[in-house]
């Protein structure tokens, strides 16, 4: 298993560097002197020179790219144009916020999605089932950041049930931390929740028709054992697959949610970097995001071994 995992990981590493290559190519292809373009609206000569220096713009694009890859492999992601911090410092400082947000969103998605799917399955074909299905199919079209705005407007600004904006580190206590994450977490988790609901409901529907579930019934097991033990584990496989894909989008969605809720996370960092054309920070952000996605996919693959023993052997 470990050998399998590490082989998968090694195979994924080249993948991480394709997107940055694209960024380098775009910088090269962009009209005008990239350094001047990147320096923003009113470039000072010093800044243009600094950018030229930082990006090695005097060297050919492939050389620049190779140097960047070399630096990354040595653990050096460069220094921000905007501040004197290294990119690694900047990212690690802001990572906790985003990871907390993504975590809360995913937990919300799984708990709500699984509950709705189970309730719908137990009431198969009934009004509840159809309602849950309809709700989830509609929820899938709701733009998450708009939902975030609505939640903030209604529950934070209107009803004042939750703090509207900002973030408290976990170190300041669990409840302050959580209370700042409830609304953004729900907003971010809505889409994956709807997808978990639909996927799990349909997978459970399939599994409940299987011979082994009929056999479980024939053994006189309790209803809960039939549903929770014999159906759920097998129905989880497609759900885990979808969740794996979804993590990437949740991570991307955190950018807008962090802007709405004024949270000092990676997304906000990225937007600040875009506004300041802070390419090293952006490259770092892209690299980080892709790494997370690759790792999550790896975890998904490994989890198949738990859900489907056939994979193990």
């Amino acid at each position: 298993m470990i050998r399998y995992a590490s082989r998968r990981l090694l195979a994924a590493i080249p993948l991480l560097f394709v997107v940055p290559l694209l960024v380098f190519a775009l910088i090269e292809l962009a009209p005008g002197d990239p350094a001047v373009v990147l320096a923003g609206d009113e470039p000072t000569p010093e800044r243009v020179e600094a950018i030229r220096e930082e990006l090695n713009l005097n060297a050919p694009v492939l050389v620049r790219y190779a140097m960047w890859v070399g630096d990354v492999l040595r653990g050096d992601l460069g220094t921000s144009f905007l501040s004197d911090q290294t990119v690694i410092e900047l990212l690690t400082r802001r990572m906790a916020t985003t990871m907390s947000l993504v975590l809360v969103a995913m937990i919300f998605a799984v708990v709500l999605g699984a509950t709705l799917a189970l309730v719908a399955t137990l009431r198969s074909g009934g009004i509840v089932d159809r309602f849950v299905n309809g709700l989830a199919s509609i929820a899938i079209a709701i733009p998450g950041f708009w939902f975030g705005l609505v939640l903030a407007s209604v529950f934070a600004v209107g009803l004042q049930m939750f703090p509207a904006f900002g973030y408290q580190p976990l170190a300041d206590g669990f409840w302050p931390w959580l209370s700042h994450l409830v609304l953004p977490g729900i907003a971010l988790g809505l889409l994956p929740a709807a997808e978990v609901t639909l996927q799990l409901r349909s997978a459970l529907g399939q599994v409940m028709k299987s011979d082994y579930v009929l056999n479980a019934e024939a053994k006189g097991l309790s209803r809960s054992s039939v549903v929770f033990k014999h159906s759920l584990k097998n129905a989880c496989i497609p759900v885990v697959t979808v969740l794996g894909f979804r993590v990437a989008e949740v991570l991307a969605g955190s950018v807008t949610i962090e802007m709405i809720y004024n949270m000092p996370g990676l997304g906000r960092t990225a937007i600040e970097a875009v506004q300041g054309r802070d390419i090293p920070v952006l490259l770092g952000f892209v690299l980080f995001s892709t790494t997370v996605v690759v790792l999550v996919n790896l975890i998904v693959d490994i989890s198949y071994g738990y859900f489907n023993p056939k994979v193990r052997s």
Binding site: L15, V18, V19, L22, V23, L26, I27, A30, V37, L38, I138, I140, A141, I142, P143, G144, F145, W146, F147, L149, V150, A152, S153, V154, V157, A187, L188, L190, L191, E195, L198, V242, F245, R246, A248, E249, V250, L251, A252, G253, V255, T256, I257, M259, I260, A270, I271, A273, V274, Q275, R277, I279, L282, F285, V286, S289, T290, V293, V294, N297
Partner: protein, 312 residues
């Protein structure tokens, strides 16, 4: 699964669900190209698809005739009438510069739909030919192109789009270029799969033997097989693009002031949430409905494809 993603653009996950269905269906199906009229007839049988289609037509109509339909000039400021809630003169109220929200919503439809079309066109122009080349040539060309597209799909789409905008500079055209680039792999995969299906069919081998040019074979024999699933990807991508444009414009990376798009209107709503909570609703509902409509049309196309396939 579908065209919407939170604030995000195309998802790898999305694709593997929707875009691959027709590709797979094609794989098991007959080599003959699907007749378009059959698909249309099949779509027409589904009321949800029709409703969605009608909604999109109306939206297009509104976008085209926005200047005639909008009660006010969307960009004219009236600082005396700032942040007025909905009333008789301004049905949806006014924003922080005293601009009429309804008029901006109507003109926003123009921006949003046009942007979505641009993005889908970019994705189509990039993905379709590259996919057909990869599927037709195979070998190392296929290997390299597929690797690149897979890598594009594995990065979170909005993150990628943001990065591209950062390099190219903010603005609606650049933003749509970015979204189009990010969506291109969907088209690539479907085109590649469709091409590989027919690559070794007798009628194509025969055309090669007859000395037809590759371009001619591609257009006459391969394209008809690739096109039906591509239609599905287009409708799904338009929904994705509407949502993605809204996200980018919300972040200030898309449409630039004073022009209105639904996303930039939500940005206004976000900064005036305390004083004018009513601003949150109109643009959001429009984005939601548009995405939902594209999803339903896509779903109708998908069902029609499956049915036409199984009907053969």
């Amino acid at each position: 699964m579908s065209a919407n993603q939170t604030p995000s653009a195309p998802a790898p996950g999305n694709d593997s669900g929707l875009a691959e269905v027709p590709a797979a269906a094609i794989g098991t199906g007959e080599p003959e190209p699907v007749a378009a009229p059959g698909i249309l007839k099949s779509i027409v049988r589904r009321p949800a698809t029709i409703a969605a289609g009608v909604f999109l037509l109306v939206l297009t109509f509104i976008a085209i005739f926005a200047p005639a339909l909008a009660p006010y000039d969307p960009d004219v400021q009236n600082l005396l009438l700032r942040l007025r809630p909905p009333n008789a003169e301004h049905w949806l109220g006014t924003d922080d510069y005293g601009r009429d929200v309804l008029s901006r919503l109507i003109f926003g439809a123009r921006v949003s739909l046009w942007a979505a079309l641009q993005a889908a066109a970019v994705a189509l122009v990039l993905g379709l030919p590259l996919g057909m080349i990869a599927g037709y040539r195979g070998g190392w060309v296929d290997a390299i192109l597929t690797r690149i597209m897979d890598a594009l799909m594995s990065a979170p789409s909005l993150v990628l789009a943001i990065t591209i905008v950062a390099v190219l500079g903010a603005g609606i055209t650049n933003a749509m270029l970015a979204i189009g680039l990010v969506m291109a792999p969907r088209f690539f995969r479907v085109a590649r799969a469709g091409t590989m299906d027919v690559r070794h069919e007798t009628y194509i081998e025969a055309s090669i033997a007859l000395g037809c040019s590759t371009l001619r074979i591609a257009v006459r024999h391969v394209l008809p097989n690739v096109l039906p699933p591509i239609i599905l990807v287009i409708s799904v991508s338009l929904g994705t693009a509407v949502a993605a444009e809204a996200s980018l414009s919300f972040l200030g990376l898309g449409v630039q002031a004073p022009a209105a798009s639904w996303g930039s209107m939500l940005s206004t709503a976000s900064s005036n949430m305390r004083l004018a909570p009513y601003l949150v609703w109109p643009p959001g509902v429009m984005i939601f409905l548009a995405v939902l409509a594209f999803t339903y049309v896509g779903d109708g196309v998908r069902r029609a494809l499956v049915r036409t396939r199984s009907g053969n």
